[in-house]
């Protein structure tokens, strides 16, 4: 169902007309009430000041990165926190002449709460904080607002300086602490180095290399020794098979051999011939001659021996001589033996060296762990120390910045003023509001009642929802008597309305002139 505006207004107007007594009553009541409330409403004076939070200044770009300028995020909130803090509130009460003697704690508390409720702190634009205070007394409003601003600025600047100082001091103390730590770590490292000379970087690898080399030498030497031993064995075996002296053929020997030959000839001849055969006889003579020569030879040798024995000389037998192969082998054997001895000595020495190196390596390992720990301590401390040093310098600059009021600065953009005109809900607002409300309220009320009432007020409802044809909408017919009553009451209503309006206007005029 779509009730159009025309129909709605018609019904609303009709119904308002029907309840015109009530409507006029409400109008008069609202107007009078508004005027009375307007008259009774206390005059309030508002004094406000604006504080400019200077964020960007010349210093900042220069100091970018070096100093951390204090930024105020959500300045209004911070400003509220600062101003509504007990410190400032107490001071404001004292300075702005609020504090009277004999004020109990609870009364003071209430006073502070009242002050807070009349104070508004809002941010106007990006960097402006507006501090506003309302009071019935303009002078007091001005004074309080002024005091708020002063105290707020001094307090927040003080806070900033303190903050900077505190930050610097803290970092400074940290720097000192880390300096001590670093020195002690250095000292420990030094002591450790002096005790463990080997303990220096790379030693371990060096020692390991050396041990490897020694081990290789040992292996090589052992192999060499084994080889030499085998050589010695084989030489000895060869030597045992070789004669020390070699025998040569002598004259005596040749004679004997000749005899043997002759004898065999003789034996052969004797087989065929008699002993008297000339050849046999000659051979017999020859043998005898040779035997004679042998005997002679023997005598000569004996004589020579006798002579040598008497003269004390070594008799070198003509028939014997030294064996050269034997001599050679003997020499080689001697050489091999010497080699074996040399190698054995070297092996022992190398083993000794290896032992020494292994011991050293063990010592180095033990030292390495503690060295790493000490070094780590040292390095960590050193890094932090350097970082802190940098930070301390930053903090120093920041502190100086704040101390010289070059950081976040607050300055009064618009000082508090002495309000001359009352602010807030003025009398005229009440009058105008009353008039408007007086006109609007009755139809609104009737509309509300209509909404709450389920009974049919629109013929459209019948045709649309109930699907019944509406033949006609008959307006109310006024009888002459009714009309007379209406015109009489309408006159009365008009008189009432104009009287009320006149009254309201008169009071407004007086108020404007300043009588009331």
């Amino acid at each position: 169902m779509q009730i159009n505006l025309e129909q709605f207004l018609r019904v609303l107007a009709g119904e308002t007309f029907k309840y015109r007594n009530l409507a006029v009553g409400i109008f008069i009541f609202i107007n009078l009430f508004a005027v009375i409330v307007g008259l009774m409403w206390p005059k309030t004076y508002t004094s406000s000041s604006t504080v400019f939070v200077e964020e960007k200044n010349i210093i900042q770009p220069l100091m970018q990165g070096a100093a951390v300028a204090t930024t105020v995020t959500d300045r209004t909130r911070i400003a509220k926190e600062i101003i509504f803090g007990r410190k400032i509130m107490n001071q404001v009460i004292e300075d702005a002449g609020w504090l009277q003697n004999g004020l109990t704690g609870i009364e003071k508390e209430k006073l502070i709460d009242a002050l807070k409720s009349r104070t508004t702190i809002l941010s106007v634009g990006n960097n402006l904080i507006k501090i506003e205070y309302k009071d019935e007394d303009p002078a007091r409003a001005f004074k309080t607002a002024q005091k708020y601003t002063e105290l707020f600025i001094s307090e927040s600047l003080g806070t900033q300086t303190q903050e900077g100082q505190a930050a610097f001091e803290f970092i400074d103390s940290q720097v000192k602490e880390y300096h001590e730590k670093l020195s002690s770590a250095e000292q420990q490292l030094k002591e450790f180095r002096s005790v463990n000379v080997d303990a220096r970087p790379g030693t371990e690898a060096e020692v390991a290399g050396r041990i490897n080399a020694l081990q290789a030498t040992i292996e090589k030497t052992s192999l060499a020794i084994k080889e030499a031993r085998i050589k010695q064995g084989s030489l000895e075996k060869q030597l045992s098979g070789e004669a020390e002296v070699a025998v040569t053929a002598t004259r005596e020997g040749q004679y004997i051999m000749r005899i043997g030959e002759l004898q065999s000839q003789l034996d052969t001849l004797r087989l065929t011939y008699l002993d008297t055969y000339p050849d046999i006889v000659r051979i017999k003579h020859q043998i005898e001659d040779i035997q004679e020569n042998i005997a002679q030879e023997k005598r000569k040798r004996e004589a020579g021996r006798e002579m040598a024995k008497s003269g004390g000389q070594v008799v070198v037998d003509e028939s014997t001589r030294m064996n050269p192969l034997y001599q050679q082998l003997k020499q080689q054997l001697f050489e091999t033996k010497t080699e074996i001895e040399t190698l054995t000595t070297r092996l022992a020495e190398t083993n000794q060296l290896l032992r020494v190196e292994t011991g050293r390596a063990r010592r180095i390992h033990a030292g390495e762990a503690s060295l790493a720990e000490l070094t780590r301590d040292y390095e960590v401390n050193r890094d932090i120390y350097h970082d802190l040093l940098k930070r301390r310098e930053n903090a120093r600059v920041s502190r100086n910045l704040n101390r010289d009021k070059q950081g976040l600065t607050l300055r009064v953009h618009e000082p508090a003023f002495l309000p001359l005109q009352p602010s807030g809900a003025r009398f005229m607002y009440f009058v105008i509001g009353g008039l408007l409300l007086g006109f609007i309220a009755p139809p609104a009320l009737i509309y509300g009642l209509q909404k709450a009432d389920p009974r049919i007020r629109y013929s459209l409802l019948i045709s649309d929802r109930l699907n019944l044809p509406v033949l006609a909408e008959v307006p109310h017919l006024m009888t002459p008597g009714e009309m007379a009553t209406i015109s009489r009451s309408a006159r009365m209503h008009l008189i009432f309305i104009f009287t009320t309006l006149g009254f309201v206007l008169a009071i407004s005029f007086f108020r404007l002139v300043g009588v009331m």
Partner: protein, 307 residues
């Protein structure tokens, strides 16, 4: 009344209640009155002549009409008169110009049912070719007798109770041209059953058929509060339901319309819409104010002169 007639009546009553109880089915159409034929047309012409000869022994003054809440041609606030003219036109559209008896009932008391019935009758009588007969059947709250002089007392109830009265004796001129009235009469102790009697039916048939252009308007009590309206609806051709502004809920309207029955109900009249006085009236009132002011000034001046 014979026993056969009684039995017939009962059967009809049962049938009608059944149809009333059933909801308004879309297929249900209003019972149409047969179209006019040539003969009817001639009859209409004859009737027109007859109407012209109707003698009006007396007439209400405009003031009297205004005071009794009756519309009249040339009244200042024509909105009400126009509404009734519109209503009349719509009814005529439904009946296709044929005369009929129309029951006017309402959802509740003080819904302005009698006001609607009376003015509907007056609206019919505005037309010079039509007459209207208003039958006051509202036994609990009869109101239309105020239109006629108080010495005329014979009315519907008297007719139904006695066998001596003629129909002509209870139809009285109402002081408005072409409007006749059957007042409620002096014997208000009759029961609703009289309305279903054959005599009542014959009466309605008679008064309807006596003149071709007579429209019978039956003013009935509210349908929700008494069975009278339902019983009367049976004997009338059509019914209209008066719904007062801001007094009836949707459910009440729906129930009342079902009680009447879809085959009888022509439609709803939304009555008594409150509205601002017309501009002409306001102007008049302001003029009155000025007159008062000028009178005051005039009356003050001579006194000054006297002193």
């Amino acid at each position: 009344m014979s026993k056969i007639e009684e039995a017939l009546e009962k059967a009809r009553a049962r049938e009608s209640t059944r149809s009333q109880n059933s909801t308004l089915e879309p297929g249900m159409q209003l019972r149409a009155v047969p179209d006019m034929d040539e003969h009817d047309f001639e009859a209409h012409v004859a009737a027109g002549k007859q109407i012209a000869r109707m003698n009006e022994p007396w007439q209400h003054s405009r003031k009297e009409l205004a005071e009794s809440g009756v519309i009249y041609p040339g009244m200042e606030d024509i909105r009400v008169a126009n509404a009734f003219r519109e209503l009349r036109t719509k009814i005529l559209q439904t009946t296709r110009g044929k005369n009929c008896s129309i029951l006017v009932t309402s959802t509740s008391k003080s819904a302005g049912c009698s006001f609607v019935a009376r003015n509907l009758a007056v609206a019919f009588s505005f037309d010079e070719s039509k007459t209207a007969l208003l039958v006051d059947c509202n036994l609990a709250n009869p109101s239309h007798h105020e239109l006629i002089p108080p010495d005329i007392t014979l009315g519907l109830t008297d007719y139904l109770r006695s066998d001596d009265l003629n129909i002509e004796q209870i139809i009285h001129p109402a002081g408005i041209q072409r409007l006749r009235l059957i007042p409620v009469g002096g014997r208000l102790d009759i029961t609703a059953e009289y309305f279903t009697s054959l005599k009542m039916k014959r009466l309605l048939k008679n008064i309807k058929e006596r003149y071709m252009d007579r429209y019978v308007i039956v003013d009935a009590p509210p349908i929700m509060h008494s069975p009278d309206a339902r019983i009367l609806a049976e004997v009338c051709d059509y019914a209209i339901l008066v719904v007062p502004y801001g007094k009836a809920t949707e459910a009440q309207v729906l129930k009342a319309s079902r009680d009447i029955g879809a085959h009888k109900l022509i439609g709803i009249v939304f009555n008594n819409e409150p509205q601002m006085p017309s501009i002409s009236w306001l102007r008049k009132m302001m003029g009155g104010l000025n007159q008062v002011a000028s009178k005051k000034s005039r009356s003050s001046r001579p006194s000054e002169g006297k002193s």
